[in-house]
Symmetry: C2
Subunit: 229 residues, 2 copies
């Protein structure tokens, strides 16, 4: 069966920058499932209305349509049990939820202010007003005013990463000897950043940076192309 | 074989308040292993010198001596594989390390300022100078000045708990349907608080509070006695 992944893209369709879509791209590669990534823009709501969703990722697998990254990941694990596991068992799947919420609720908010202006700059023209209005409403200020001190924000980001850093001093991946969905969730944040900006977020000697490079080195050929600018 | 757990205690030997010792007490109960908890005070360094450790928990299991909570938990899982699992497999054991570091590096620092004066008050007299000096050096100020605004600190604590809260909205325990070592690690923080202070840290309608009460209800008889003041 053919698998299609609807992925958020910029003006350049090869700029895939949604952290939530990256989770699923990495999960599909981990399971060794071939798929077609289909670029989608914020304002193309009609194109994914069939999935009862206003956001991506949306996955179409034959006659199944699934939206929302955590739901898609659970679906892939259940639908493809003979492929490499995304979680490593029910206990790990339960614990992964904490990692997801830490990423969504702690890591992303620490990172987003550093990226907003860069995201706006790479968007398709028809997406720019939508993005500005929705994000300015969320942050309560103009995009240009969300991050008045990028150096301080990067310092906060690096401090936010402390539990990840301490863990990666003990083992090469969150999942242990190899990456699992928890790694893909956190890596999604760094691929979000990479997709919109060339800025260095981490110090070269940070164990998180070494892990990020290990994760980049494992990307499949198409994902590698999508991260090379 | 007899198992002995050296546990930090206050002037009252039944005041067991180390979050790291509670992790192991809960782990031993989870595995259904009978053990004797032996109260220990901060300044009784000689009493655990045999373990090459200056801190508790120290576990003695027959002719084995193990120090440091994470090492002890890994030992128990390996030594008692036929008992209920603490982790739920290698992937979950790897992910648990993130939870441990989040607890040690994020949750404990948010909680400690609220507890320091109460800890000092319940210590054995011979421990008080040691505690004051070591903690004042760590926090860079007098014990009485570490938490000038407890309400603001409780607000920070509750915000810090957001990834835990979001996870516990989805499932009864961090480990899923039942508690695992990750739950014991986080619960250690709340038993630390309970051991020294009657203050309410959480709102009654907080999913974290509901989880804390579920965890309390599962304590074994002796642990229940040790948390009843």
């Amino acid at each position: 069966m053919a698998i299609t992944l609807y992925e958020l893209a910029g003006a350049d369709p090869d700029r895939r920058f949604s952290p939530f879509c990256w989770r699923i791209r990495l999960a599909l590669e981990h399971k060794g499932l071939s798929f077609a990534g289909r670029p989608w823009r914020f304002t193309e709501k009609d194109a994914i209305a069939f999935a009862d969703s206003g956001t991506v990722p949306v996955l179409v697998d034959g006659d199944r349509t699934i939206a929302e990254s955590s739901v898609i990941a659970a679906y892939l694990e259940e639908a493809y049990p003979d492929r490499p596991t995304l979680f490593g068992g029910p206990a790990a799947q339960a614990l992964t939820r904490f990692l997801v919420h830490w990423t969504d609720g702690v890591l992303h908010p620490a990172l987003a202010p550093l990226l907003l202006r860069d995201i706006h700059a790479i968007l398709a023209p028809q997406d720019r007003d939508y993005f500005r209005q929705s994000r300015e409403a969320r942050f309560g200020r103009a995009l240009e005013a969300v991050c008045p001190d990028p150096d301080a924000q990067r310092t906060l980001l690096r401090r936010t990463l402390s539990p990840l850093r301490a863990t990666l001093r003990l083992q090469p991946f969150l999942g242990g000897e190899g990456p699992l969905y928890a790694d893909f969730v956190v890596m999604g944040a760094f691929l979000w950043a990479r997709g919109v900006s060339a800025q260095a977020l981490l110090e070269p000697d940070d164990p998180v940076e070494a892990w990020r490079l290990r994760m980049l080195a494992r990307l499949g050929p198409e994902s590698r192309a999508l991260t090379s600018f």
